[in-house]
Symmetry: C2
DNA sequence: AGGCTTTTGTCAAGCGTGCAGCATTATTCG
DNA sequence: CGAATAATGCTGCACGCTTGACAAAAGCCT
């Protein structure tokens, strides 16, 4: 406490107590077990660099707290005494990821290992007002809880994916295609029922996370994800971390008029050979199919679309110099028609051409990314502040 | 050691020994002292959260190792026994930052606090071959050493700033305006004389670092730095860290033809009212002066230049959504003529308009940034792996 | 079947570290 | 010169990790 003298940088609080050291060691053991098959104490000891007896003590404590579960030795034919194996108790907590779209709400439940244990998809009227849409979100989330017999307090994190840039408060005030949604604060809404942290994030950004987690860019740390569909958007991962920008509007290069992302899909909708009966939602799919079959006008439409898509992508690539560009979104099903030309255009305009890959995740990528973001938050809380609390750490 | 079985993620090595804990505490005390005025043990104890006796023991050790120096109490009029103060011994090590330009080599020497203790500026013939240029670099560095009577081993880090994207090996193979420089590896050259780490980095990126360190963007974590001069370039700081991109080519948006950064300065050179006698190097300065005096043609030239500058800046801003855009480079001396229009253009094209500020650093910004990068590297080595080695930690 | 090898599980002793508390010292104020 | 004040220095205590040793549980060999 500075009395009245020049108070400098008070309260750095990095001093490590000997009891804090034990927490850190416990965490490093948990970390050494996450995502790995069940391991023996000896393995954990070598992995963490701790001694075997020391590791054993900590492991016992973690088992008592419910973080680890014991796997009794099965008849594996090794020479010495068969070792007990310990497994991270992924069921100690769960996270929920929600994708709020115009036509549907998709909710997923996963355990702490990220294993998806339930998926709910409910339809929504595109014109539904915010209250109605939130009711559907609630219903989807509720179904996730019911599927595993969980109570709200068993959920450690929730992430909601929406379209449009998300500001710090979790709202999409700058722009949203959902009617009336600009005034909605989904985090606040869910906080009434859940005590865990609720994050709201842009759908492109979440899809980018998903591609790095389980999709086409698992090996990369610098990723530009381009969502190609009836809307065009981007999500950026730099140095392995999702980047939001200072106001949450990173990746919105499509707002630049010279980048014709807003009008790019119209090339497909206005294709000359498009029959009259095709619905506007199915137009793109029809054009891609026709182009694949050799239809001249359709091929031209796809070429024009890709050219426009490439301009914005080039701007992103030149700005960030990523390792990988991932093409996602609805049109990525037709990546075979797009990727070649996209690569050529980038090769023409960019200094260093990154790898270009098609998304390997389907329509669930946004919800998956939402799960990943929620898990990231849980990890940060666990490993950052470090609270190996007994059994069930709440918010 | 995995024998032949499924070797998973070996060697995580995060286990904290009790002796390692002491290292960490020593480091946190050093950190609590860096950049602060000399402090008493009691102050350090409260700042780090450690106990006073414990702090005292560590401080004694740090003094013995040469990291801290004692400041005997002067006659400050407080009640009670006057406290010894301890100061971080910034002179324990030094770093060197070099700015290799077309016309000059600028080298700076700084201590561990970043206080610049010597600056050398040597002229170079723009057409000099790589060997000649490297000789000048050596001379400049040598002068830094001589100024403080230092030996090469007293230097803990060196950073060299060059124009053009720098790859992982430290070379500028993609592009460089210096004749023959593409084949040069400055890091390797300096490694012959210095055992410390030598980094090579792009000049725009270093200038960006400098602006965040001591310049116009000290408070920001997300910065787009635009170097405006006869060459146009950019440096990006995201979440407080300089971003290089996967191949070191981040920020090279100027390579996009639609972004007219390459030709933007020609608007100034081709100004109609420019007298015949003015040298090409001084043309821009003349035009800015004329514009400020009210010359119609000059004002038009500046307006056209700024319009072109704004296109690329808008692409960077929309991609990254930074908090601040810093206008640097030689033309930032005329920021009064540029900033207003630049802000208007960004306001027209961008979703969320960042603050726009003029650089407060002069021609030394690149060398300053080089110092900062070298200091960052030293810090990372110290605080990361943690080696409070005795007196003088070498590479 | 019995001994040998190998690896695990467990215990005891030792050590380094940080913390709390008390005595000591140096300085100002009355 | 004595009282008050605050920093310094010292001792005992608690905690957790490590080393080393030994018993237990399996497979392999004779």
């Amino acid at each position: 406490m500075g009395t009245e003298g020049a108070t400098v940088t008070d309260q750095v609080t990095t001093g490590t107590d000997v009891t804090r050291m034990r927490e850190l060691n416990a965490l490093s053991i948990v970390r050494a077990l996450r995502g790995n098959p069940p391991s023996t104490v000896t393995e954990l000891a070598t992995r963490t660099g701790l001694s075997r007896p020391g590791t054993d003590v900590i492991v016992q404590g973690l088992v008592a707290d419910g973080w680890l579960t014991v796997v009794e030795p099965d008849g594996s034919s090794v020479v010495g005494r068969p070792a007990r194996r310990y497994r991270f108790n992924a069921g100690a907590g769960h996270v929920i990821g929600v994708d709020v779209g115009a036509h549907k709400v998709l909710a997923m439940l996963a355990d702490l290992d990220g294993t998806v244990t339930w998926t709910t998809r409910l339809p929504v009227d595109p014109g539904a007002d915010p209250a109605a849409r939130l009711t559907v979100v609630d219903a989807a989330v509720e179904e996730c809880l019911a599927s595993a017999g969980l109570r709200p307090d068993d959920i450690w994190g929730i992430t909601v994916g929406v379209t449009g840039p998300v500001d710090a408060s979790g709202r999409t005030t700058l722009f949203t295609p959902l009617p009336g949604w600009a005034s909605v604060n989904p985090a606040e809404h869910l906080a009434a029922r859940f005590s865990c942290p609720v994050q709201v994030e842009n759908d492109c950004k979440l899809a980018a996370l998903a591609e790095r987690w389980q999709g086409a860019a698992r090996d990369a740390d610098d990723i530009v994800y381009v969502l190609a569909g009836m809307r065009t958007g981007a999500g950026l991962i730099i140095d392995g971390t999702l980047r939001r920008g200072h106001g949450g509007a990173a990746g919105e290069i499509g707002a630049l008029r010279a980048v014709r992302w807003l009008t790019a899909p119209s090339h497909l909708e206005k294709c000359a050979s498009l029959p009259a009966g095709v619905d506007t939602d199915d137009a793109a799919a029809w054009v891609f199919a026709a182009a694949r079959a050799g239809d001249k006008a359709a091929r031209t439409a796809v070429r024009r679309y890709t050219r426009d898509l490439a301009v914005g992508t080039a701007a992103l690539v030149l700005t960030l110099d990523p390792q990988v560009v991932v093409l996602g979104g609805g049109f990525s099903r037709s990546a075979d028609l797009i990727l070649g030309q996209l690569a050529r255009e980038l090769g023409r305009t960019c200094l260093r051409v990154p790898e270009i890959r098609a998304s390997t995740l389907g329509a669930e990528s946004v919800a998956l990314g939402a799960l990943r973001l929620a898990l990231n938050e849980v990890d940060a809380r666990l490993f950052g502040t470090g609270l190996p609390a007994p059994v069930a750490p709440r918010a």
